[in-house]
């Protein structure tokens, strides 16, 4: 094993030791693990086909059934098993959360680093563009984009990425700017390191904690954003199961069949909460000086 490798393992170990102390963050991590297993294993774990409409899935008057031994989370307005649908919906939520947020983080980091390190006219142009994006109400822009692009899973992820990269770009920009003024960068330049070497070997490693923390917290935001778009009817389209969409479809029944709204709603809350807790735990573990702030 090389020395560099040992150093990295030592750092990872220290981070894990810190992270483990935050009980809520560990619970969040466990919840995420359970969700991933549930989402990946949905075809085997789900008791029913999520799109199958049961003849006995509705009352004689045609109303959805409350939770029972056969239908754990009750049935929806079309007599489909809600537990199976919630299980399949986890995949949609996680895929969009990770895909859209990954793209947003990638765009934001690239633009932020470019603006902060290269500066000049290109940097100024990028930052003015982020200022412009900040002036748009994120959801209105997302609704407008989603409603004109005919949303599929991939399009919804793209729309969210296009709207959500701004925050991380600003954070990465500020940090790159501050880092490139530091002495170790000047020292690297003094011993003759080229701009690419300084960027990749000296600046980017310092940005990794920030990107990791914002990347994790961003998944929570993204999951909520997808749910909101779907709730407004401009998110992923059927038959793809989506928690927000399930609530959209049954919101007019929420007084008579509250399980149709509150079970998927709780699912959205739990996923977003889990990623927020893990992100918060990561922040503390990666930067002990910032503990308890925000």
């Amino acid at each position: 094993m090389t020395r560099a490798n040992q150093k990295v393992r030592g750092a990872m170990g220290a981070i894990w030791t810190q992270f483990r102390k935050d009980r809520m963050a560990v619970i969040g991590l466990i919840v995420i693990a359970v969700l991933v297993i549930g989402a990946v294993g949905a075809p085997w774990l789900a008791p029913f086909n999520p799109n199958e409409q049961f003849f006995d899935g509705l009352t004689l008057e045609g109303s959805p059934l409350p939770p029972s031994e056969r239908f754990w989370f009750g049935t929806d307005t079309l007599g489909r098993d809600q537990f199976s649908r919630v299980l399949y919906g986890a995949g949609t939520s996680l895929v969009i959360g990770i895909l859209a947020n990954g793209a947003a983080v990638l765009i934001g980091t690239l633009l932020g680093v470019t603006a902060g390190y290269i500066r000049g006219a290109a940097g100024a142009a990028i930052m003015r563009f982020t200022d412009l994006m900040m002036a748009f109400p994120a959801l209105l822009l997302g609704i407008a984009l989603a409603s004109l692009l005919k949303p599929s899973l991939f399009i919804v992820a793209l729309v969210i990425a296009l709207v959500n990269w701004v925050q991380i770009a600003r954070v990465v920009y500020a940090q790159t700017l501050a880092l490139s003024e530091r002495e170790f960068v000047e020292a690297a330049r003094a011993i003759g390191a080229g701009p690419w070497r300084i960027l990749l070997r000296h600046l980017v490693p310092h940005l990794i904690p920030t990107v990791l923390v914002y990347g994790t917290l961003g998944i929570a935001t993204t999951v909520l954003y997808e749910a909101t778009l779907s709730f407004l009817g401009v998110g992923v389209q059927p038959p793809t199961p989506s928690w927000g969409k399930m609530i959209f479809e049954s919101q007019s029944y929420y007084l008579t069949a509250p399980w149709l709204v509150f079970i998927p709603g709780a699912a959205i809350l739990i996923v977003a909460l889990a990623f927020n807790l893990v992100g918060d735990g990561l922040r503390d573990a990666l930067d002990p000086t910032q503990r308890g702030r925000r």
Binding site: G244, Y254, I268, A272, R293
Partner: protein
Amino acid sequence: MLIYLAKRLGASVVILLGVTVVTFCLTFLMPADPVAMIAGRNSTAETRELIRKQLGLDRPLIVQYTSYVTRLAQGDFGRSYARKTDVGDLIWSRLPATLLLMLGAIVAELLIGIPAGIYAATRRGKVSDKTMMTLSFVGVSAPQFVVGLSLLYVFAYMLGWLPLGGYGTFAHLILPALTLGIAGGGWYSRMMRSSMVDVLRQDYVRTARAKGVPEWRVVMKHALRNAILPIIAMIGLDIGIFMSGVVVVESVFGWPGIGQLMWQAIQAVDIPIIMGVTTVAAAFIIAGNLLADLTTPLVDPRIRLR
């Protein structure tokens, strides 16, 4: 100060112009043809051509954009395609409801966030602090439409204390304002806590304690004044978050503001309304950001403007 103000105002105008360019471009990506919508299904090709001319849609894009911005500057937002009324009038008539809702939400988030933050800061490291901070994340992580429907279910349907949506009295405002403000309350409680923890470490607080000032007085009088400053400075930034939130909250509660107007317009592909609301919302957000920048040094003179 004046130079700074002028510079920031100038930058705001440029950003607002940028916003109009983006909204203008977006509307051309809309899948539905506004001419077909106005003319109806059974219209002839001649009628459609006439409407196209009346709307000015036959002219080059740059001419259309220039005339759009010129009219905007005069406060003319054009006419709604679907409602056949003046968009400016529509927006102005609905703006007070939205502003009232936002004001209610600001009150709600401060009423949640500040006491919760003080509570957690004074019990730093204890179980009650950890619980409070986890609860704050619950507030941040809850989708607004679920919060709204839950509040309606409990307080309007089960308990019957408050009306099931609608607009008019103070009772109508409580649940929508709470729904819009709950996430902000979560963030503010975290910010208030860290700000309070910082202030409680300062020398003057130690001096006050050494003098024998009771702890509640140290916290509520000596520390609170300084700890609350960063939060006051953030309020302007909430407008941006609220402008997104009102679309959801107004549609859940049937609140007749611009969020509901926007939502109905998107379903009807009513382009002038979409452009108008987005522009007005952006203007408010820019003003809010400016306000946040200007209040920061006002509440804390140690920060100097450049």
